[in-house]
Each structure stands twice: as C-alpha cells, then as structure tokens.
C-alpha cells in the first residue's frame, strides 16, 4: 500500500517534484562551489605568497635613504631573517605606451621594478621566479585580459621593450592596490632612473610571522625611513583575497536564500499534500496505522528527491567550477589542495542534505496533530479565523465579488499563503538590495564614504621633487582660472602620535576639510587648528572617540588635539586623519587638490587643459577617477544586480506558478461548485489573481522595508570591513519603488494566470460526484 501511495504521489506531482529537485540541485551546486572556491582561493594565495616569498613587513619610502643604517638595523635584530631594499620607479602614465596606447588616463601608479634579490619575487604565469633579460618587459597579469600579447611593444619614454610575459605580483595584484609593478632587467631599470621618481621598498622577512608587531615597534622606535605607507603580510593577504572573497560571500549568500526557498517549496508541497490527503491520512490513522508509518512514506520520497538533487548539484558544481576559478587561477595561480576542495564541497552538500531532511521531519511533525474524527468528517483541516468574521460579502459595498472572494480566502487560509508571502519577500529583497547597492556605489555621493571629497576634478601630486613648489604653482593656476568655483589643497604628512609611552605613526591630511567634506560617522570636520578627525580604522586602533584628547608631535613639539569627528575612508589602507593646522615642514608625502567648476564647463576639456599644463600631476575627472579605481567593482555589481533581478523574477514566477497550480488542484471541488452556479473561468482566474496580488503587494512592502533596513545593515557591515561606516543606501526611487515592484507583481500575475489555467479544465460534472 505504501508503494502505491508514494508512486501515485510522485506521478500526480511530477512538476512539483521536478522543481523541488531543481532548487535543491542549485542550492547544492552553490554550496559546493563556494566551498571549492574558498579552498582554492586560500590555497592559491598561500602558494603564491610562499613562492613569491612575500615580505612580512614593507615600508615604502620616498626621498633620501640611509642604506647603511637600515642594514645595521636588520643585522642587529635576530628575528630578521632576510632584508632587502627594492626600488619602484613610479613613471607618469603619459610616458608609458602599450601597443601605441598611452596610460595617461590610468589612475594607477604604474612603474618599473627590478626582480627581488633574495625574496619578494615577481612570478610568471607558471608560478616560477622570472628571469628577465635586457629589452624584455613583464606586465601585470591584469593586462592579459586587455588584449596585450607576448611580443607586443611597450615604450617607456622612447625606450622600447618587448612583452616577454605576464607577472603575478604577490603584493600588488589586487586592483585595490594602487601601485602596479612592471618588471625589467636591472640594467634597463638603471637606464630609466631619470624618467620617474624612485620609491624605496624597504622589505623584511622574519624568522616567525608572530614577531611582526615587535618589528613594527622597533622600526618606529629606531626612527627609520618612513615617508610612505607601511604594509604587512596579513594586509597583503587580505588585499589578494578581497575581490574573489566578495564573490564567494555573494555566492554563499545567494545559496542560503535558495536553500530557504527550497525549504519553503518543500513546506508548502507537504502542507498542501497533507491537506489534500487529510481524509486519507485520517482513515489510515483510524484503521490503526502509526504516524511513523505515514511519515516513512514522505521521508522516503524526499530522501530520493534530496539525494538526486544534491548529486545533480555536485555534478553541476564540478562542471562550473573552472569558469569561476579562472580569475583566481589567472591572478593567483593553481592551488595545491584540490582534493580538500572537493572534500569540503561534499561536506557542505552533506550538511545541506541533513538540513533539508531535518526540516522535512519537522514539518511532518504535524501529522501527529491530525485528529481522526475531524479528518473523516470534514476531509480538511479546520482553520479557525474569527478575525475575518465581519468581512462579509453581504456588507461589502466596494469590492468586486471576485476580488472579495480572493481576499477572503487569503485571510482565512493565512498559513497557506504565508509560504508564498515569504518567498515573495525574499525575492523582493533579492531584487532590491543589489540594485540599491549598485545605485549607492555608483552615485557621486558614495565617494564621500570612501574618503574622497565630492568635486568635479581631482589632482594628485605625489613622489616628485620639490613637491611643495609644484603644488603652489598649481594653486596659482587655479586661483587665476575664472571657471574655477572652489578648490581646496590637502597635503598629507606623517606624524607621530604620543600614546601610553608609545609612538604610533599616522598620516594626516592638512587643509580645509569643510569644502569637500567626506561623510562623518560621528562628529564633524576639523575647523579649529587644535582639532583632528580620525578615520574609522585609526579611531579603532587608537581607541579614540569624538571629544577625546590626542597628542601629536608637530615640528618636534608635543601638541594636544581634540578629536572632532570620525569618518569613513577606504583610501590609503583606511588609516588616515584630517587636521587644519599649518606646518613649516617642506616635505609632504603627497598633495590632493579637489576642484569644482562654475556651471560645469566642458569638464573633459578642463581636465585635459590641466593635465597638459602640469605633467607631474595626475589630473582626473572625478567620475573617471571613480570609474578607474572602482569601475570593475561597480560594473560587476551592476551585472550582479541585473542577474539578481532576473533570477528573483524567475524564482517568483516559478514558485507562484507552482503554488497556484497546487491551489487550484486542491480547490478543484470548490471551483467546480462555483462553476456549477454560474461562475466563469475568467471569474475563477480573477479570484486567484486577487489572492496573488494581495499577497504580492504585502510582500513587496515587507520586502522593500526589509531591504532598506536589514539589507542596508548587511551591506553596511560588508562595506564596513573596508573601513567605510555610516553606510546608507542611495535609492533610485523609480527603479526601487516603482519598476521593481511592478515587475514583480506582473511576474506574479502572469504566473498566476498560467497556474490558474488548470481551473479552466476542471469539469463540473467530474467533481460534483466527489
């Protein structure tokens, strides 16, 4: 008898069984993929950093350098295993041409470098240390994607090189690392020296990584060269992991949502089935079958579905993995632990199966509650609903009768429609969060979360001789330009913070910060000369709040400051500060000048005018600056947002279709009755549409609210890990509040019409006999 019941069930619900299987397959695929990707990514990064012998501690420095003193420092500390000073020759983009195209518009700091002597190797595509010969050049691996091929020509200030290959740079692979090293031979490097500005890379390898903080402290205490950023091994690792890590996080998030949806799918299939078989189950119980026996039928059915779905998912994951691993393999190389990856993927899928089966057990618990008498007498579960007693047709003046019937049904069978509600809330969420994220990060205001003031044009002057004079020239030009509406000059210099007998270094941006303000998580921009604002990361590290006191060593004197505000910043490793005091010192690390123009003249022409006039400065249209720094990220989020909308709509349609189809099958008797007293198929369809519309509207409202609260905090938390806080969505109302809900509602209605078409095939005569 069991086999008959289970077979009948499978045959009757072919489509539902199929769709549930598909959902489980997709969930399993995503879980397996994220496990495989995770293991591969961390494995590949480990291999890359091991083979490249990435420095444990690196101090960048522009300006004079005392090599002997540094060497003495290295040899006098036992924990230093190896030490070297490499060089990075920063060359203006305009002076570099690849295949005839200049890099003038590149916002990255491009330059050439020599191969590391005993560590910090630049590796080739096969993960081997590159041996570079005269006249050859190796380009960062990202150029491989830009149709640059081996044998192509690169010209750096009249000197021609042949592209011999591509390199993986364990330090600066990431797009978020602004410097990009091109590798040339030592001899060619020396020949180019006059073309750019040298930046020293003072690099240390330690006996043990745990000694890192000791070295950091000793280095600062010794007062060694430090005009530039400090980067440590863990930070290199994070930089390497971040973009693919985000992708993995996104896949995991989507897979969680798909798992939830497949659970809901199972839930309503089971509940509907249970209601349909209510009488039968009641009878089975009445004739003495145990609940456990009945459960077994369903457990068997879903074990098969889960197993088949999971297997398909694993196969799919195996087939898709290379596609997603491509990027990791290109930038980071092969991972060594393939077996572990597949193993972990299997474990993930195993856990997924356990969750699904556990959930089915839980839902099946309801069988116990089926009362024998009630089941036999009424044939369905009795859902009590006192709350809607007064919502009657007799008292209904305004609603068309079909709409009334639809609403009434939703109200009386809330539990049934709850599933549909949850699915639609989730799909609304999936639709809105990514597009809000996209609109937020592509909006101009978003730059203020990243620590970049909102202006028209941005000028960077860095690593150049007589930097202050050059900045002053620039200021003079801006002051004389009638088109300029406003500008500010921000000069960055490193200062020591005196705290608990310890010295910590922070980079302070000096200038007027009220003009192009960034977004402050707390407090305000510094206005007085004794005020200072800290980036979130620095505030955390120094343990300071708004209003706290802080002591800086300015021009060899300890000076007290008050923290006026804390702001988001993802530039320069996120560790910055802002103040307004002036200093007599000449050696600034870099200048940033923000400019706005009156009534927007031809902005591109303006940018070009300044770029041509001041070749030492990097002049960029702020949109272009954002485009180049974050363009690929923004583009991929746009793509993700688009895919999310399509996927959400498809999921919504599929689930609603299934749901309505099941509902019409379940309600076939009622439908036949209504037809018998003169309701048409169109009437029935209208009733189902009202039900779906009602649920969809509530879902859209809840989903939108959830997206803007919960979604915002989730995204904010992710963005926060980059150092930007106080995150709020920039919403495009037309798209988020009008188009998306409209699309979802249309999708739901279309699915309802298709799903309810079954009602048209219900013959009155057939069901009147039941």
């Amino acid at each position: 008898m069991f086999s008959r019941i289970i077979l009948n069930d499978m045959l009757k619900s072919k489509l539902t069984t199929l769709i549930t299987t598909i959902f489980i397959a997709i969930a399993a695929m995503l879980v397996a993929l994220s496990a495989i990707l995770m293991v591969n990514l961390s494995g590949a990064i480990d291999t890359l950093m091991r083979e490249a012998k990435t420095p444990h501690f690196m101090q960048m420095h522009a300006g004079e350098i005392d090599q002997t003193r540094l060497e003495a420092f290295a040899s006098s500390h036992d924990y230093v295993e190896d030490f070297q000073i490499n060089e990075f020759l920063n060359i203006e983009g305009a002076k570099i041409t690849i295949n005839g195209t200049s890099l003038a518009h590149s916002v990255q700091d491009n330059g050439v470098s020599k191969q590391g002597q005993t560590f910090d190797y630049l590796l080739d595509i096969n993960g081997k240390r590159i041996d570079v010969h005269d006249g050859e050049i190796y380009l960062p691996v990202s150029y491989m994607k830009e149709e640059v091929a081996i044998g192509d020509q690169v010209i750096i200030q009249n000197k021609a090189f042949t592209v011999q290959g591509f390199l993986r740079d364990s330090q600066m692979n990431s797009l978020l690392a602004s410097s990009k090293r091109f590798l040339v031979s030592d001899q060619d490097y020396n020949a180019l020296q006059s073309v750019g500005n040298v930046e020293y890379l003072i690099e240390f390898r330690l006996q043990q990584l745990e000694q890192l903080s000791t070295l950091e402290n000793d280095y600062i205490t010794a007062g060694l060269e430090a005009n530039g950023p400090t980067i440590t091994y863990p930070l290199f690792k994070t930089l390497n992991a971040i973009s693919d890590g985000l992708m993995i996080a996104l896949i995991l998030l989507v897979s969680v949502l798909i798992v939830v949806i497949s659970l809901l799918c199972i839930r309503f299939t089971l509940l509907a089935k249970m209601e349909e078989d209510y009488r039968e189950i009641g009878v089975l119980k009445a004739i003495g079958l145990r609940v456990a026996d009945i459960k077994k039928i369903y457990i068997a059915k879903y074990s098969v579905i889960t197993l088949v779905g999971a297997s398909i998912g694993v196969v799919l994951a195996y087939m898709c993995k290379d596609l997603l691993l491509e990027n990791i393999k290109l930038y980071m190389g092969e991972s060594e632990n393939t077996a572990l990856a597949i193993g972990l993927g299997m474990v993930g899928v195993g856990v997924l199966c356990i969750i699904i089966m556990g959930y089915i057990y839980l839902v099946l618990g309801r069988f116990k509650k089926i009362a024998v008498t009630e089941a036999i007498q009424f044939g369905t579960a009795q859902e009590k609903s006192i709350s809607t007693k007064h919502f009657t047709l007799a008292a209904n003046k305004w609603l068309p009768t079909n709409v009334f019937l639809g609403l009434k049904d939703v109200m009386t069978r809330k539990r049934l429609y709850f599933t549909m509600l949850i699915v639609l809330v989730i799909t609304t969420f999936i639709m809105i969060v990514p597009q809000n994220l996209y609109h937020t990060i592509s909006s101009k205001d978003f730059t203020t979360y990243m620590g970049i003031g909102n202006s028209d044009m941005r000028i960077d002057i860095q690593q150049t001789a007589e930097i202050k004079t050059k900045a002053n020239q620039m200021v003079k030009a801006l002051a004389n330009d009638d088109d300029v509406q406003a500008y500010n000059v921000l000069a960055t210099k490193t200062y020591y913070v005196q705290q608990d007998q310890q010295k910590k270094r922070i980079k302070v941006e000096l200038g007027d910060h009220t003009l192009f303000p960034v977004t402050y998580a707390q407090g305000n921009a510094p206005k007085e000369t004794n005020e200072i604002a800290l980036s979130v990361m620095n505030a955390d590290e120094l343990n300071k709040k708004v209003g706290d006191k802080i002591t800086l060593i300015v021009d060899d004197e300890a000076k007290p400051f008050v923290v006026s505000g804390i702001y988001s910043d993802i530039t320069n490793g996120g560790k910055t500060a802002k103040a307004t005091f002036t200093t007599s010192s000449e050696d600034m690390m870099w200048y940033v000048i923000n400019v706005t123009f009156k009534a927007n003249p031809a902005l591109n022409a303006k940018v070009k005018e300044y770029a041509d006039q001041f070749s030492y400065a990097k002049v960029s249209h702020i949109d272009e600056y954002i485009q180049q720094s974050y363009g690929p990220t923004i583009a991929s989020i746009e793509k993700a947002a688009f895919i999310a909308i399509v996927v959400a709509l498809l999921i919504a349609m599929l689930i609603v279709f299934l749901f309505i189809k099941m509902l019409t099958a379940k309600d076939r008797y009622t439908i036949a009755v209504m037809k018998s007293f003169g309701f048409t198929n169109a009437d029935i369809t209208k009733q189902y549409m009202s039900r779906a519309l009602f649920v969809a509207i509530i879902s859209v409202i809840i989903g939108t609210i959830a997206a803007n609260t919960l979604g915002e905090s989730i995204v904010g938390a992710v963005i926060g890990t980059f150092g930007a806080t106080a995150f709020t969505f920039t919403i495009q109302p037309l798209s988020a509040y009008v188009l998306s809900p409209l699309m979802l509602i249309c999708a739901v209605l279309v699915a309802t019409i298709i799903g309810a078409s079954y009602a048209g095939r219900i013959k009155i005569s057939q069901y009147m006999k039941e």
């Binding site: 009424f378 047709l393 007799a394 009622t670 003169g678 309701f679 013959k763 009155i764 005569s765």
Partner: protein
C-alpha cells in the same frame, strides 16, 4: 405548455478506443415548463450523466440539447455560465457550500457576481428564502457548524435566489435522514407548485412518488416512464406502490 428542455437523440460516450464506454444511448425527451420530473434507475445507469447533459454541465457526444430555446452545444463557456447563473439552480447530494464564507454570503454569492448594485434587495430576498426553508437566524453561521439538513436548505436558497426556470437536484436527499429528507422534499414540492420546473435524480421511491413524471433508466436508455397526477398530500402510499412496482419490474 412550453417546452423548456428538449433532448434529441443524445449519445454520451466516455473514454476512447478500448476504454470507450457508451453511457447515454440515443435518448430523446422533452420537459415542459412547470413539470416535476424524477429520474430513477440502477447505479451506473447514467442518471447523473443525463442530468449533466440536460443542464449543459457536460457536453454530449452526439445529438442536441435545447434549453429554453437555446441549443447548448452552440453556446460559449461564458454563455453557459450565464445560463446556469440565471436560469438554472442546482442542488447536490453533498451540500456544496464554500467553507470560508458564512451562510448568507454563500446564498447570495451567485447573485452578487453581477448584481452587486442591488445588494440590499438580494439580501432581503435571501432572508425571505431562509425563512421559507426554515433556517432564518443562521445568516452569520459558519458552514462547519451546521447540520446536513441545514446545509442542504442553504443550498436550496442559493439555487432559488435567481428565480431559475429549472431546478436540478442530483439525489438532494440522499445524504439526509428520513425526517430531514421529508422536509426538504416538501420545500422542493412547494417550489414546483410555485411554477418552477424541477428535475430530480433519486433512488428513493418515496421521493419519486411526490413527482408527476418519472423516467426509469437502464443501461443508458430510458426504459420506461410513468406519469402521476399532481401530488396534493393524499394517496402517498398508493403512489409509492405504483413506483415500486415498476422498479421491481425493471429490476432496479
């Protein structure tokens, strides 16, 4: 008198090929307005099928059914629905009320589909009918809290609300105890006496004995039919005896 239903040589087949089964074999009949007709016959003889064919709930395979001057086969689905809503009333064996609306709403539902403007008139009429069928005061009752007899009465009110020309009943008393059955039959008889054509399928000689014309079916054909004078409360036993005699004769 006017013909309200005419069936000409109707044949109804179910299934195809090997599974084909002829359920109605060439039936012709005429029902006149105001008639009170019963259909009797053994289980599976095609009684329900015949009634579905005459009311347009199901299509015939061959032949033609005319209802109130309209050929059913030529009507579109919506026109058939209109016809059912306005000119026919159905009473089924199981009370077919919708579970999630109360008694009154169930009764007015078909009428409210397109005459919402006359809401108060409809409600008033529904209340009159409820009074007439003996269920007044139960307007707000939940369907699940009603007895079978009460539900059947509510179903009758629903069927009567649109002043239909014909009431069809497929064993309307089949699921009721004898007391309730008697009361329901009295109501139906009343309806007929007010001028509505009534057509009932029944197994019960007591029920059939109250009608004026009985069609006896066997194997998809009308084996024979008998007419009785209009029932006026007298000679019930004689009438029943007559019916059972024919039933015996036909082996029903």
């Amino acid at each position: 008198m006017k013909n309200i239903i005419t069936a000409q040589n109707i044949i109804k087949k179910f299934g195809v090929g090997d599974e084909e089964q002829v359920v109605l074999r060439d039936i012709s009949l005429t029902i006149q307005a105001g008639e009170f007709v019963a259909i009797m016959g053994p289980s599976g003889s095609g009684k329900s099928t015949l009634m579905h064919a005459l009311s347009g709930m199901d299509k015939v395979t061959e032949g033609q059914v005319t209802f109130d001057g309209k050929v059913l086969a030529l009507l579109k689905e919506n026109e058939l629905a209109d016809l059912r809503r306005n000119k026919m009333g159905f009473i089924f064996q199981q009370p077919t009320l919708l579970k999630n609306i109360n008694v009154l709403d169930n009764i007015i539902l078909p009428a409210m589909r397109d005459k919402r403007k006359h809401r108060s008139t409809i409600i008033k009429k529904a209340q009159e009918l409820m009074e007439r069928t003996g269920i007044s005061g139960l307007e707000k009752r939940d369907i699940t809290q009603m007895s079978g007899g009460q539900l059947q009465r509510a179903g009758i009110c629903r069927a009567l609300l649109s002043n239909p020309k014909v009431i069809f009943g497929d064993e309307p008393t089949g699921a009721l105890n004898s007391k309730s059955a008697k009361e329901i039959m009295n109501i139906i008889t009343q309806i007929n006496q007010n001028g509505t054509t009534v057509m009932l399928v029944t197994h019960d000689a007591q029920v059939a004995a109250k009608t004026e014309r009985i069609l006896f079916m066997r194997d998809g054909q009308i084996a024979t039919e008998m007419t009785l004078p209009r029932y006026n409360g007298q000679d019930l036993h004689e009438r029943i005896d007559k019916v059972t005699a024919i039933m015996k004769e036909l082996g029903i």
